[in-house]
Amino acid sequence: MQTLLRFARAYGIVLVTVLLFVLLATTTEGFATLRNFRNILDQQSTVLIAASFLTIATIAGNFDVSVSAVFVATPLVALAVENATGSVPLAVLAAVLTGAAMGLFNGIIVARFRINSFIATLATSFMFFGVGYLVSGRSLLRPIGQDYPMLARTQILGLTSSTWVSFLMVIVATILLTRTRFGRNVFATGGNPEAARIAGVNVPRVQATTFVLLSTAAAIAGVLNSSRSLSAQPSDDFSFVFSVLTAVIVGGTSIAGGQGAVWRTVAGAFFLAFLSNGFNLHQIDPIWQRLIEGMVILIAVGVDAWTQRNSK
Protein backbone atom coordinates (compact mmCIF):
# COMPACT_ATOMS: atom_id res chain seq x y z
CA MET A 1 0.00 0.00 0.00
CA GLN A 2 2.76 2.35 1.07
CA THR A 3 4.82 1.59 -2.04
CA LEU A 4 1.75 1.92 -4.21
CA LEU A 5 1.20 5.38 -2.81
CA ARG A 6 4.84 6.28 -3.32
CA PHE A 7 4.61 5.06 -6.89
CA ALA A 8 1.46 7.07 -7.51
CA ARG A 9 3.20 10.16 -6.21
CA ALA A 10 6.30 9.81 -8.32
CA TYR A 11 4.36 8.91 -11.40
CA GLY A 12 1.24 11.07 -11.20
CA ILE A 13 0.77 11.45 -14.91
CA VAL A 14 1.17 7.72 -15.52
CA LEU A 15 -1.43 7.08 -12.87
CA VAL A 16 -3.85 9.53 -14.42
CA THR A 17 -3.26 8.02 -17.86
CA VAL A 18 -3.81 4.51 -16.56
CA LEU A 19 -7.01 5.60 -14.82
CA LEU A 20 -8.29 7.11 -18.05
CA PHE A 21 -7.33 3.94 -19.86
CA VAL A 22 -9.21 1.75 -17.40
CA LEU A 23 -12.21 4.04 -17.49
CA LEU A 24 -12.36 3.92 -21.27
CA ALA A 25 -11.69 0.21 -21.46
CA THR A 26 -14.59 -0.57 -19.16
CA THR A 27 -17.11 1.95 -20.45
CA THR A 28 -16.37 2.28 -24.11
CA GLU A 29 -17.17 -0.28 -26.69
CA GLY A 30 -14.46 -0.54 -29.31
CA PHE A 31 -11.75 1.00 -27.13
CA ALA A 32 -10.00 -2.05 -25.81
CA THR A 33 -9.43 -3.74 -29.12
CA LEU A 34 -6.17 -4.56 -30.78
CA ARG A 35 -7.10 -2.59 -33.85
CA ASN A 36 -7.91 0.51 -31.85
CA PHE A 37 -4.57 0.37 -30.05
CA ARG A 38 -2.78 -0.05 -33.34
CA ASN A 39 -4.59 2.98 -34.67
CA ILE A 40 -3.77 5.07 -31.64
CA LEU A 41 -0.12 4.09 -31.89
CA ASP A 42 -0.09 4.99 -35.55
CA GLN A 43 -1.90 8.29 -34.99
CA GLN A 44 0.46 9.29 -32.20
CA SER A 45 3.67 8.26 -33.92
CA THR A 46 4.54 11.64 -35.44
CA VAL A 47 3.72 13.52 -32.23
CA LEU A 48 5.80 11.09 -30.19
CA ILE A 49 8.81 11.45 -32.44
CA ALA A 50 8.87 15.21 -32.17
CA ALA A 51 7.77 15.31 -28.53
CA SER A 52 10.57 13.04 -27.34
CA PHE A 53 13.13 15.46 -28.64
CA LEU A 54 11.19 18.55 -27.67
CA THR A 55 11.42 17.11 -24.17
CA ILE A 56 15.20 17.24 -24.44
CA ALA A 57 15.21 20.80 -25.76
CA THR A 58 12.79 21.83 -23.02
CA ILE A 59 14.92 20.27 -20.31
CA ALA A 60 17.88 22.20 -21.73
CA GLY A 61 15.85 25.32 -21.01
CA ASN A 62 14.63 26.21 -24.47
CA PHE A 63 11.41 26.51 -26.37
CA ASP A 64 11.08 25.64 -30.03
CA VAL A 65 8.07 26.91 -31.90
CA SER A 66 9.61 26.16 -35.29
CA VAL A 67 8.89 22.44 -34.94
CA SER A 68 5.73 23.11 -36.94
CA ALA A 69 7.52 24.90 -39.74
CA VAL A 70 10.11 22.13 -40.02
CA PHE A 71 7.32 19.57 -39.98
CA VAL A 72 5.59 21.41 -42.83
CA ALA A 73 8.61 22.36 -44.93
CA THR A 74 10.83 19.27 -44.88
CA PRO A 75 8.34 16.79 -46.42
CA LEU A 76 7.90 19.29 -49.24
CA VAL A 77 11.65 19.10 -49.77
CA ALA A 78 11.43 15.31 -49.69
CA LEU A 79 8.64 15.18 -52.23
CA ALA A 80 10.24 17.75 -54.50
CA VAL A 81 13.36 15.56 -54.55
CA GLU A 82 11.32 12.39 -55.00
CA ASN A 83 9.41 13.94 -57.88
CA ALA A 84 12.62 15.09 -59.50
CA THR A 85 14.79 12.01 -59.01
CA GLY A 86 12.39 9.21 -58.21
CA SER A 87 14.69 8.15 -55.40
CA VAL A 88 13.16 7.70 -51.96
CA PRO A 89 16.46 7.44 -50.07
CA LEU A 90 17.59 10.69 -51.64
CA ALA A 91 14.27 12.28 -50.74
CA VAL A 92 14.51 11.22 -47.11
CA LEU A 93 18.12 12.28 -46.91
CA ALA A 94 17.32 15.70 -48.33
CA ALA A 95 14.51 16.23 -45.84
CA VAL A 96 16.53 15.08 -42.87
CA LEU A 97 19.50 17.24 -43.83
CA THR A 98 17.22 20.22 -44.33
CA GLY A 99 15.76 19.58 -40.90
CA ALA A 100 19.19 19.34 -39.34
CA ALA A 101 20.27 22.55 -41.05
CA MET A 102 17.18 24.35 -39.80
CA GLY A 103 17.93 23.11 -36.31
CA LEU A 104 21.48 24.29 -36.56
CA PHE A 105 20.26 27.71 -37.64
CA ASN A 106 17.96 27.87 -34.60
CA GLY A 107 20.74 26.62 -32.39
CA ILE A 108 23.25 29.19 -33.53
CA ILE A 109 20.80 32.01 -33.07
CA VAL A 110 19.69 30.94 -29.62
CA ALA A 111 22.97 29.64 -28.26
CA ARG A 112 25.49 32.00 -29.81
CA PHE A 113 23.53 35.20 -30.24
CA ARG A 114 21.60 34.51 -27.08
CA ILE A 115 18.23 35.53 -28.42
CA ASN A 116 15.29 34.28 -26.42
CA SER A 117 14.39 30.91 -27.87
CA PHE A 118 10.68 31.56 -28.09
CA ILE A 119 10.92 34.65 -30.24
CA ALA A 120 13.91 33.34 -32.20
CA THR A 121 12.11 30.19 -33.25
CA LEU A 122 8.94 32.14 -33.97
CA ALA A 123 10.94 34.27 -36.38
CA THR A 124 12.69 31.30 -37.95
CA SER A 125 9.27 29.64 -38.29
CA PHE A 126 8.29 32.35 -40.73
CA MET A 127 11.45 31.69 -42.66
CA PHE A 128 11.03 27.92 -42.72
CA PHE A 129 7.39 28.22 -43.75
CA GLY A 130 8.65 30.45 -46.55
CA VAL A 131 11.07 27.73 -47.61
CA GLY A 132 8.09 25.38 -47.79
CA TYR A 133 6.34 27.66 -50.21
CA LEU A 134 9.39 28.11 -52.36
CA VAL A 135 10.18 24.43 -52.83
CA SER A 136 6.56 23.48 -53.47
CA GLY A 137 5.59 26.36 -55.72
CA ARG A 138 2.57 26.76 -53.39
CA SER A 139 1.04 23.58 -54.52
CA LEU A 140 0.32 20.27 -52.91
CA LEU A 141 2.96 17.69 -53.73
CA ARG A 142 2.35 13.97 -54.10
CA PRO A 143 4.81 11.13 -54.44
CA ILE A 144 5.24 9.82 -57.99
CA GLY A 145 6.55 6.39 -57.08
CA GLN A 146 5.11 3.52 -55.07
CA ASP A 147 7.89 3.40 -52.49
CA TYR A 148 7.43 6.71 -50.75
CA PRO A 149 4.02 5.75 -49.32
CA MET A 150 5.57 2.63 -47.85
CA LEU A 151 7.87 4.64 -45.59
CA ALA A 152 5.14 5.07 -43.01
CA ARG A 153 2.71 2.36 -44.01
CA THR A 154 4.65 -0.86 -44.15
CA GLN A 155 3.16 -3.36 -41.72
CA ILE A 156 5.69 -5.08 -39.46
CA LEU A 157 4.40 -7.50 -36.84
CA GLY A 158 1.01 -5.90 -37.05
CA LEU A 159 2.20 -2.35 -36.49
CA THR A 160 2.99 0.33 -39.06
CA SER A 161 6.55 1.29 -39.81
CA SER A 162 5.63 4.74 -38.57
CA THR A 163 4.84 3.25 -35.18
CA TRP A 164 8.13 1.36 -35.12
CA VAL A 165 10.06 4.48 -35.99
CA SER A 166 8.35 6.29 -33.14
CA PHE A 167 9.34 3.51 -30.71
CA LEU A 168 12.88 3.77 -31.93
CA MET A 169 12.99 7.52 -31.54
CA VAL A 170 11.51 7.37 -28.05
CA ILE A 171 14.17 4.87 -27.06
CA VAL A 172 16.95 6.91 -28.62
CA ALA A 173 15.77 10.04 -26.85
CA THR A 174 15.49 8.19 -23.56
CA ILE A 175 18.97 6.74 -23.86
CA LEU A 176 20.45 10.06 -24.89
CA LEU A 177 18.88 11.75 -21.92
CA THR A 178 19.47 9.19 -19.20
CA ARG A 179 22.49 7.17 -20.25
CA THR A 180 24.92 9.55 -21.90
CA ARG A 181 27.17 12.43 -21.03
CA PHE A 182 25.16 14.60 -23.38
CA GLY A 183 22.02 13.89 -21.35
CA ARG A 184 23.68 14.92 -18.13
CA ASN A 185 24.87 18.07 -19.78
CA VAL A 186 21.33 18.78 -20.94
CA PHE A 187 19.98 18.58 -17.40
CA ALA A 188 22.85 20.69 -16.12
CA THR A 189 22.40 23.32 -18.80
CA GLY A 190 18.70 23.68 -18.14
CA GLY A 191 19.00 23.47 -14.38
CA ASN A 192 21.70 26.07 -13.87
CA PRO A 193 23.55 27.27 -16.97
CA GLU A 194 26.18 29.19 -15.06
CA ALA A 195 27.00 26.24 -12.84
CA ALA A 196 27.11 24.01 -15.90
CA ARG A 197 29.59 26.35 -17.55
CA ILE A 198 31.81 26.40 -14.48
CA ALA A 199 31.68 22.60 -14.42
CA GLY A 200 33.12 22.56 -17.92
CA VAL A 201 29.95 22.00 -19.93
CA ASN A 202 29.98 23.69 -23.31
CA VAL A 203 26.56 25.21 -22.80
CA PRO A 204 26.08 26.76 -26.26
CA ARG A 205 27.04 23.51 -27.93
CA VAL A 206 24.65 21.49 -25.80
CA GLN A 207 21.84 23.88 -26.59
CA ALA A 208 22.58 23.91 -30.29
CA THR A 209 22.71 20.13 -30.32
CA THR A 210 19.26 19.87 -28.77
CA PHE A 211 17.92 22.11 -31.53
CA VAL A 212 19.56 20.05 -34.26
CA LEU A 213 18.21 16.81 -32.80
CA LEU A 214 14.75 18.26 -32.45
CA SER A 215 14.54 19.63 -35.98
CA THR A 216 15.86 16.38 -37.36
CA ALA A 217 13.17 14.52 -35.45
CA ALA A 218 10.55 16.97 -36.70
CA ALA A 219 11.75 16.35 -40.26
CA ILE A 220 11.41 12.59 -39.79
CA ALA A 221 7.93 13.11 -38.37
CA GLY A 222 7.04 15.34 -41.32
CA VAL A 223 8.25 12.82 -43.88
CA LEU A 224 6.33 10.00 -42.19
CA ASN A 225 3.24 12.15 -42.06
CA SER A 226 3.47 12.96 -45.76
CA SER A 227 4.04 9.30 -46.52
CA ARG A 228 1.00 8.33 -44.49
CA SER A 229 -1.24 10.91 -46.10
CA LEU A 230 0.29 10.49 -49.57
CA SER A 231 0.82 14.21 -49.90
CA ALA A 232 2.31 17.34 -48.41
CA GLN A 233 1.21 20.91 -48.72
CA PRO A 234 2.65 24.24 -47.74
CA SER A 235 0.90 26.08 -44.91
CA ASP A 236 1.51 28.41 -41.98
CA ASP A 237 0.03 26.02 -39.56
CA PHE A 238 1.28 25.99 -35.98
CA SER A 239 -1.02 23.24 -34.76
CA PHE A 240 1.59 20.48 -34.81
CA VAL A 241 3.85 22.18 -32.30
CA PHE A 242 0.82 22.85 -30.15
CA SER A 243 0.03 19.14 -29.98
CA VAL A 244 3.64 18.25 -29.38
CA LEU A 245 4.18 20.85 -26.70
CA THR A 246 0.93 19.91 -25.00
CA ALA A 247 2.12 16.31 -24.76
CA VAL A 248 5.43 17.43 -23.24
CA ILE A 249 3.83 19.71 -20.69
CA VAL A 250 0.89 17.54 -19.77
CA GLY A 251 3.55 14.89 -19.16
CA GLY A 252 5.00 17.15 -16.50
CA THR A 253 8.31 18.28 -17.98
CA SER A 254 8.87 21.77 -16.66
CA ILE A 255 9.23 24.61 -19.16
CA ALA A 256 11.58 26.18 -16.66
CA GLY A 257 14.15 23.59 -17.72
CA GLY A 258 16.40 21.24 -15.81
CA GLN A 259 13.72 18.72 -15.08
CA GLY A 260 11.67 16.21 -17.01
CA ALA A 261 11.73 12.85 -18.72
CA VAL A 262 10.84 11.24 -22.00
CA TRP A 263 8.60 8.68 -20.31
CA ARG A 264 6.60 11.58 -18.94
CA THR A 265 6.07 12.90 -22.43
CA VAL A 266 5.04 9.48 -23.68
CA ALA A 267 2.48 9.29 -20.88
CA GLY A 268 1.27 12.80 -21.70
CA ALA A 269 0.90 11.97 -25.38
CA PHE A 270 -1.11 8.85 -24.65
CA PHE A 271 -3.24 10.63 -22.11
CA LEU A 272 -4.25 13.12 -24.80
CA ALA A 273 -4.63 10.39 -27.41
CA PHE A 274 -6.91 8.30 -25.20
CA LEU A 275 -8.93 11.38 -24.43
CA SER A 276 -9.60 12.26 -28.05
CA ASN A 277 -10.08 8.63 -29.02
CA GLY A 278 -12.63 8.32 -26.22
CA PHE A 279 -14.45 11.42 -27.41
CA ASN A 280 -14.65 10.05 -30.92
CA LEU A 281 -15.82 6.65 -29.79
CA HIS A 282 -18.46 8.26 -27.63
CA GLN A 283 -19.36 10.57 -30.52
CA ILE A 284 -19.25 13.57 -28.23
CA ASP A 285 -20.11 16.84 -29.88
CA PRO A 286 -16.85 18.67 -30.69
CA ILE A 287 -18.06 21.74 -28.88
CA TRP A 288 -18.53 19.87 -25.64
CA GLN A 289 -15.29 18.05 -26.39
CA ARG A 290 -13.48 21.34 -26.11
CA LEU A 291 -14.97 22.12 -22.74
CA ILE A 292 -14.40 18.65 -21.38
CA GLU A 293 -10.89 18.38 -22.81
CA GLY A 294 -9.96 21.67 -21.18
CA MET A 295 -11.23 20.52 -17.83
CA VAL A 296 -9.71 17.06 -17.98
CA ILE A 297 -6.30 18.47 -18.93
CA LEU A 298 -6.51 20.86 -16.00
CA ILE A 299 -7.30 18.01 -13.64
CA ALA A 300 -4.56 15.76 -15.02
CA VAL A 301 -1.93 18.47 -14.88
CA GLY A 302 -3.14 19.49 -11.45
CA VAL A 303 -2.82 15.97 -10.10
CA ASP A 304 0.60 15.56 -11.63
CA ALA A 305 1.84 18.90 -10.29
CA TRP A 306 0.50 18.03 -6.87
CA THR A 307 2.19 14.64 -6.80
CA GLN A 308 5.46 16.07 -8.10
CA ARG A 309 5.43 18.61 -5.30
CA ASN A 310 4.72 16.02 -2.66
CA SER A 311 7.07 13.31 -3.81
CA LYS A 312 10.16 15.38 -3.17
Partner: protein
Protein backbone atom coordinates in the same frame (compact mmCIF):
# COMPACT_ATOMS: atom_id res chain seq x y z
CA UNK B 1 4.51 48.59 -66.90
CA UNK B 2 3.85 51.95 -65.44
CA UNK B 3 0.51 52.49 -67.10
CA UNK B 4 -0.87 49.16 -65.92
CA UNK B 5 -4.09 49.22 -64.02
CA UNK B 6 -3.41 48.10 -60.47
CA UNK B 7 -5.60 45.55 -58.76
CA UNK B 8 -5.08 44.25 -55.24
CA UNK B 9 -5.68 40.59 -54.48
CA UNK B 10 -6.38 40.10 -50.78
CA UNK B 11 -5.84 36.43 -50.16
CA UNK B 12 -6.91 34.60 -47.04
CA UNK B 13 -3.61 32.78 -47.22
CA UNK B 14 -0.98 32.60 -49.89
CA UNK B 15 -0.17 29.14 -48.64
CA UNK B 16 -3.57 27.76 -49.49
CA UNK B 17 -3.31 25.44 -52.47
CA UNK B 18 -6.84 26.12 -53.74
CA UNK B 19 -6.26 29.85 -53.78
CA UNK B 20 -2.85 29.38 -55.35
CA UNK B 21 -4.58 27.65 -58.28
CA UNK B 22 -7.06 30.53 -58.58
CA UNK B 23 -4.23 33.04 -58.52
CA UNK B 24 -2.57 31.44 -61.52
CA UNK B 25 -5.67 31.97 -63.68
CA UNK B 26 -6.18 35.46 -62.33
CA UNK B 27 -2.70 36.35 -63.48
CA UNK B 28 -3.45 35.15 -66.99
CA UNK B 29 -6.62 37.18 -67.33
CA UNK B 30 -4.94 40.18 -65.79
CA UNK B 31 -1.95 40.01 -68.10
CA UNK B 32 -4.23 39.84 -71.11
CA UNK B 33 -5.99 42.99 -69.99
CA UNK B 34 -3.06 45.14 -68.95
CA UNK B 35 -3.70 44.71 -65.25
CA UNK B 36 -1.05 44.32 -62.57
CA UNK B 37 -2.07 42.22 -59.57
CA UNK B 38 -0.49 42.68 -56.15
CA UNK B 39 -1.10 39.87 -53.71
CA UNK B 40 -1.63 40.42 -49.99
CA UNK B 41 -1.38 37.48 -47.64
CA UNK B 42 -3.52 37.58 -44.50
CA UNK B 43 -2.12 34.25 -43.28
CA UNK B 44 -5.61 33.38 -42.00
CA UNK B 45 -5.46 36.27 -39.54
CA UNK B 46 -8.59 38.45 -39.75
CA UNK B 47 -6.91 41.42 -38.08
CA UNK B 48 -4.13 41.29 -40.63
CA UNK B 49 -6.68 41.24 -43.40
CA UNK B 50 -8.42 44.35 -42.13
CA UNK B 51 -5.06 46.09 -41.91
CA UNK B 52 -4.25 45.10 -45.47
CA UNK B 53 -7.57 46.43 -46.69
CA UNK B 54 -6.89 49.75 -45.01
CA UNK B 55 -3.39 49.86 -46.46
CA UNK B 56 -4.74 49.14 -49.93
CA UNK B 57 -7.34 51.86 -49.66
CA UNK B 58 -4.87 54.32 -48.20
CA UNK B 59 -2.30 53.77 -50.92
CA UNK B 60 -4.79 55.10 -53.46
CA UNK B 61 -3.21 53.30 -56.33
CA UNK B 62 -5.56 50.38 -56.77
CA UNK B 63 -8.62 50.51 -59.00
CA UNK B 64 -10.04 47.26 -57.77
CA UNK B 65 -9.85 44.58 -55.14
CA UNK B 66 -10.33 40.84 -55.45
CA UNK B 67 -11.15 39.75 -51.94
CA UNK B 68 -11.06 36.35 -50.24
CA UNK B 69 -12.73 37.30 -46.98
CA UNK B 70 -11.86 35.50 -43.77
CA UNK B 71 -14.76 36.67 -41.67
CA UNK B 72 -17.95 36.62 -43.75
CA UNK B 73 -20.13 39.38 -42.41
CA UNK B 74 -17.19 40.77 -40.50
CA UNK B 75 -15.64 41.82 -43.78
CA UNK B 76 -18.57 44.03 -44.75
CA UNK B 77 -17.16 47.24 -43.23
CA UNK B 78 -13.87 46.65 -45.02
CA UNK B 79 -15.63 46.18 -48.33
CA UNK B 80 -17.82 49.19 -47.67
CA UNK B 81 -14.75 51.32 -47.06
CA UNK B 82 -13.21 50.18 -50.33
CA UNK B 83 -16.42 50.92 -52.22
CA UNK B 84 -16.63 54.33 -50.57
CA UNK B 85 -13.12 55.00 -51.79
CA UNK B 86 -14.34 54.38 -55.32
CA UNK B 87 -12.83 50.96 -55.89
CA UNK B 88 -14.39 47.95 -57.51
CA UNK B 89 -14.68 44.91 -55.31
CA UNK B 90 -15.05 41.32 -56.45
CA UNK B 91 -15.47 38.57 -53.88
CA UNK B 92 -13.69 35.28 -54.41
CA UNK B 93 -14.30 31.86 -52.91
CA UNK B 94 -15.75 33.09 -49.61
CA UNK B 95 -19.06 34.75 -48.86
CA UNK B 96 -18.91 38.39 -47.84
CA UNK B 97 -22.02 38.77 -45.73
CA UNK B 98 -24.11 36.70 -43.40
CA UNK B 99 -26.13 34.65 -45.91
CA UNK B 100 -24.20 31.50 -46.73
CA UNK B 101 -26.79 30.16 -49.17
CA UNK B 102 -26.02 32.34 -52.15
CA UNK B 103 -23.19 33.44 -54.40
CA UNK B 104 -24.79 36.84 -54.91
CA UNK B 105 -22.95 39.88 -53.57
CA UNK B 106 -24.45 41.00 -50.27
CA UNK B 107 -22.92 44.46 -50.07
CA UNK B 108 -24.54 47.05 -52.30
CA UNK B 109 -22.08 48.27 -54.85
CA UNK B 110 -19.97 45.14 -55.03
CA UNK B 111 -19.36 44.24 -58.64
CA UNK B 112 -19.43 40.49 -58.44
CA UNK B 113 -18.66 37.48 -56.38
CA UNK B 114 -17.37 34.15 -57.66
CA UNK B 115 -17.90 31.16 -55.40
CA UNK B 116 -19.94 28.13 -54.59
CA UNK B 117 -22.01 29.06 -51.55
CA UNK B 118 -21.42 26.68 -48.61
CA UNK B 119 -25.09 25.86 -48.31
CA UNK B 120 -25.19 24.96 -52.02
CA UNK B 121 -22.14 22.73 -51.61
CA UNK B 122 -23.94 20.95 -48.78
CA UNK B 123 -26.96 20.46 -51.02
CA UNK B 124 -24.80 19.01 -53.75
CA UNK B 125 -23.17 16.60 -51.31
CA UNK B 126 -26.71 15.67 -50.27
CA UNK B 127 -27.77 14.98 -53.85
CA UNK B 128 -24.82 12.67 -54.38
CA UNK B 129 -25.60 10.94 -51.08
CA UNK B 130 -29.18 10.35 -52.18
CA UNK B 131 -27.91 8.83 -55.37
CA UNK B 132 -25.45 6.66 -53.49
CA UNK B 133 -28.18 5.48 -51.15
CA UNK B 134 -30.60 4.50 -53.87
CA UNK B 135 -31.93 1.04 -53.12
CA UNK B 136 -30.18 0.85 -49.76
CA UNK B 137 -32.43 0.87 -46.72
CA UNK B 138 -31.44 1.84 -44.16
CA UNK B 139 -28.57 3.85 -45.63
CA UNK B 140 -26.15 4.97 -42.92
CA UNK B 141 -23.97 7.99 -43.61
CA UNK B 142 -20.83 9.25 -41.85
CA UNK B 143 -20.41 13.00 -42.09
CA UNK B 144 -16.91 14.46 -41.71
CA UNK B 145 -16.94 18.13 -40.78
CA UNK B 146 -14.08 20.46 -41.47
CA UNK B 147 -14.33 22.20 -38.12
CA UNK B 148 -17.63 21.58 -36.46
CA UNK B 149 -19.30 24.71 -35.19
CA UNK B 150 -17.87 27.35 -37.46
CA UNK B 151 -20.55 29.10 -39.58
CA UNK B 152 -19.19 27.70 -42.84
CA UNK B 153 -19.50 24.10 -41.71
CA UNK B 154 -22.83 24.78 -40.07
CA UNK B 155 -24.25 26.13 -43.36
CA UNK B 156 -22.84 23.27 -45.36
CA UNK B 157 -24.33 20.72 -43.01
CA UNK B 158 -27.64 22.54 -43.11
CA UNK B 159 -27.71 22.27 -46.91
CA UNK B 160 -26.88 18.59 -46.64
CA UNK B 161 -29.55 17.87 -44.04
CA UNK B 162 -32.23 19.86 -45.87
CA UNK B 163 -31.56 17.83 -48.98
CA UNK B 164 -31.60 14.36 -47.47
CA UNK B 165 -34.44 14.98 -45.06
CA UNK B 166 -37.11 13.81 -47.49
CA UNK B 167 -35.38 10.47 -47.86
CA UNK B 168 -36.33 8.38 -44.89
CA UNK B 169 -33.83 5.66 -45.65
CA UNK B 170 -30.87 8.00 -45.13
CA UNK B 171 -29.56 8.91 -41.72
CA UNK B 172 -26.28 10.26 -40.39
CA UNK B 173 -24.98 7.71 -37.88
CA UNK B 174 -21.61 9.20 -37.01
CA UNK B 175 -19.65 12.40 -37.32
CA UNK B 176 -16.00 13.33 -37.30
CA UNK B 177 -13.75 16.34 -37.73
CA UNK B 178 -11.16 16.53 -40.50
CA UNK B 179 -9.76 19.96 -39.49
CA UNK B 180 -8.99 21.13 -43.05
CA UNK B 181 -5.32 20.24 -42.66
CA UNK B 182 -4.56 17.63 -45.24
CA UNK B 183 -5.66 14.02 -45.00
CA UNK B 184 -4.34 13.38 -41.44
CA UNK B 185 -7.52 14.52 -39.75
CA UNK B 186 -9.60 12.31 -42.00
CA UNK B 187 -7.41 9.30 -41.29
CA UNK B 188 -7.71 9.62 -37.52
CA UNK B 189 -11.44 10.41 -37.61
CA UNK B 190 -12.16 7.42 -39.84
CA UNK B 191 -10.02 5.05 -37.79
CA UNK B 192 -11.91 6.05 -34.68
CA UNK B 193 -15.31 5.82 -36.36
CA UNK B 194 -14.54 2.30 -37.55
CA UNK B 195 -14.08 1.37 -33.90
CA UNK B 196 -17.71 2.25 -33.20
CA UNK B 197 -18.76 -0.98 -34.88
CA UNK B 198 -21.68 0.79 -36.48
CA UNK B 199 -21.98 -0.32 -40.08
CA UNK B 200 -22.22 2.50 -42.59
CA UNK B 201 -22.47 2.66 -46.35
CA UNK B 202 -21.59 6.23 -47.24
CA UNK B 203 -19.04 8.82 -46.11
CA UNK B 204 -19.17 12.48 -47.08
CA UNK B 205 -16.74 15.31 -46.45
CA UNK B 206 -14.19 17.61 -48.00
CA UNK B 207 -11.81 15.99 -50.49
CA UNK B 208 -8.84 16.08 -48.11
CA UNK B 209 -10.79 14.37 -45.33
CA UNK B 210 -12.19 11.76 -47.70
CA UNK B 211 -8.71 11.13 -49.04
CA UNK B 212 -7.74 10.36 -45.45
CA UNK B 213 -10.85 8.19 -45.08
CA UNK B 214 -9.87 6.19 -48.16
CA UNK B 215 -6.43 5.59 -46.70
CA UNK B 216 -7.84 4.53 -43.33
CA UNK B 217 -10.47 2.24 -44.88
CA UNK B 218 -7.88 0.57 -47.05
CA UNK B 219 -5.56 0.10 -44.08
CA UNK B 220 -8.45 -1.45 -42.18
CA UNK B 221 -8.68 -4.06 -44.91
CA UNK B 222 -11.91 -2.91 -46.52
CA UNK B 223 -12.28 -3.36 -50.24
CA UNK B 224 -12.25 -0.14 -52.28
CA UNK B 225 -15.82 0.90 -52.99
CA UNK B 226 -17.31 -1.09 -50.13
CA UNK B 227 -18.01 2.25 -48.47
CA UNK B 228 -19.25 4.87 -50.90
CA UNK B 229 -16.98 7.88 -50.51
CA UNK B 230 -18.26 11.28 -51.55
CA UNK B 231 -15.92 14.25 -51.56
CA UNK B 232 -16.18 17.94 -52.10
CA UNK B 233 -13.52 19.76 -54.07
CA UNK B 234 -12.83 18.19 -57.46
CA UNK B 235 -9.16 17.64 -56.60
CA UNK B 236 -6.93 15.37 -58.65
CA UNK B 237 -7.01 12.46 -56.18
CA UNK B 238 -10.80 12.71 -55.94
CA UNK B 239 -11.31 12.48 -59.69
CA UNK B 240 -8.81 9.65 -59.91
CA UNK B 241 -10.64 7.87 -57.11
CA UNK B 242 -14.02 8.24 -58.80
CA UNK B 243 -12.54 7.04 -62.07
CA UNK B 244 -11.03 3.90 -60.54
CA UNK B 245 -14.09 3.18 -58.47
CA UNK B 246 -12.54 3.63 -55.04
CA UNK B 247 -14.64 6.76 -54.56
CA UNK B 248 -18.36 6.88 -55.31
CA UNK B 249 -18.59 10.51 -56.31
CA UNK B 250 -17.38 14.05 -55.85
CA UNK B 251 -18.77 17.56 -55.93
CA UNK B 252 -16.61 19.38 -58.41
CA UNK B 253 -14.52 22.32 -57.31
CA UNK B 254 -13.10 24.74 -59.81
CA UNK B 255 -10.41 26.99 -58.34
CA UNK B 256 -9.05 27.87 -61.75
CA UNK B 257 -12.48 28.71 -63.17
CA UNK B 258 -13.27 30.63 -60.03
CA UNK B 259 -10.11 32.70 -60.35
CA UNK B 260 -10.65 33.29 -64.04
CA UNK B 261 -14.29 34.27 -63.57
CA UNK B 262 -13.41 36.58 -60.71
CA UNK B 263 -10.73 38.38 -62.66
CA UNK B 264 -12.97 38.53 -65.72
CA UNK B 265 -15.63 40.08 -63.50
CA UNK B 266 -13.06 42.59 -62.31
CA UNK B 267 -12.22 43.50 -65.90
CA UNK B 268 -15.92 43.89 -66.60
CA UNK B 269 -16.37 46.01 -63.50
CA UNK B 270 -13.52 48.29 -64.45
CA UNK B 271 -15.36 48.69 -67.73
CA UNK B 272 -18.58 49.53 -65.93
CA UNK B 273 -20.31 46.15 -66.05
CA UNK B 274 -21.46 44.43 -62.86
CA UNK B 275 -21.55 40.64 -63.14
CA UNK B 276 -23.22 39.89 -59.79
CA UNK B 277 -23.20 36.40 -58.33
CA UNK B 278 -21.26 33.74 -60.19
CA UNK B 279 -21.41 30.09 -59.20
CA UNK B 280 -18.64 28.47 -61.24
CA UNK B 281 -20.38 25.12 -61.05
CA UNK B 282 -23.41 26.27 -63.04
CA UNK B 283 -21.20 26.34 -66.14
CA UNK B 284 -19.75 22.84 -65.73
CA UNK B 285 -21.39 19.59 -66.82
CA UNK B 286 -24.11 18.18 -64.55
CA UNK B 287 -23.73 21.07 -62.10
CA UNK B 288 -20.50 19.50 -60.97
CA UNK B 289 -22.03 16.33 -59.55
CA UNK B 290 -19.45 13.72 -60.51
CA UNK B 291 -19.91 9.99 -60.51
CA UNK B 292 -18.21 7.24 -62.45
CA UNK B 293 -20.60 7.84 -65.39
CA UNK B 294 -19.56 11.38 -66.11
CA UNK B 295 -16.10 11.62 -64.55
CA UNK B 296 -14.47 11.63 -67.96
CA UNK B 297 -16.03 15.03 -68.62
CA UNK B 298 -14.02 16.64 -65.81
CA UNK B 299 -10.39 17.61 -65.39
CA UNK B 300 -9.04 18.44 -61.96
CA UNK B 301 -8.05 22.04 -61.42
CA UNK B 302 -5.92 21.48 -58.34
CA UNK B 303 -4.03 18.79 -56.54
CA UNK B 304 -5.97 18.90 -53.29
Amino acid sequence: RADDIQVAYLSASSANTWLAASAVEMQKVAAANGIKITEFDAQFDPAKQTAQMQDVIASGKYKGIVFVALTGAGAIPDVQAALDAGMQVVGLNQVIGADLTTSDPQVKGMAASAMAAPYRSGERLGKLAIKACEGIDPCSVVYIFGIKGIPLDVAMRQGFDDTITAHANISVVAEGEGKYLGPDGGIAATQDILQLNKPFQVMVGADQSIQGAAIALKDAGMAPGSVKLIGLGGSAPALAGVADGSWYGDVFGAPRDEGRLAMQAMVDALNGKMDGGIDPLTSVPDEGLITKDNVSKFTAQWNG
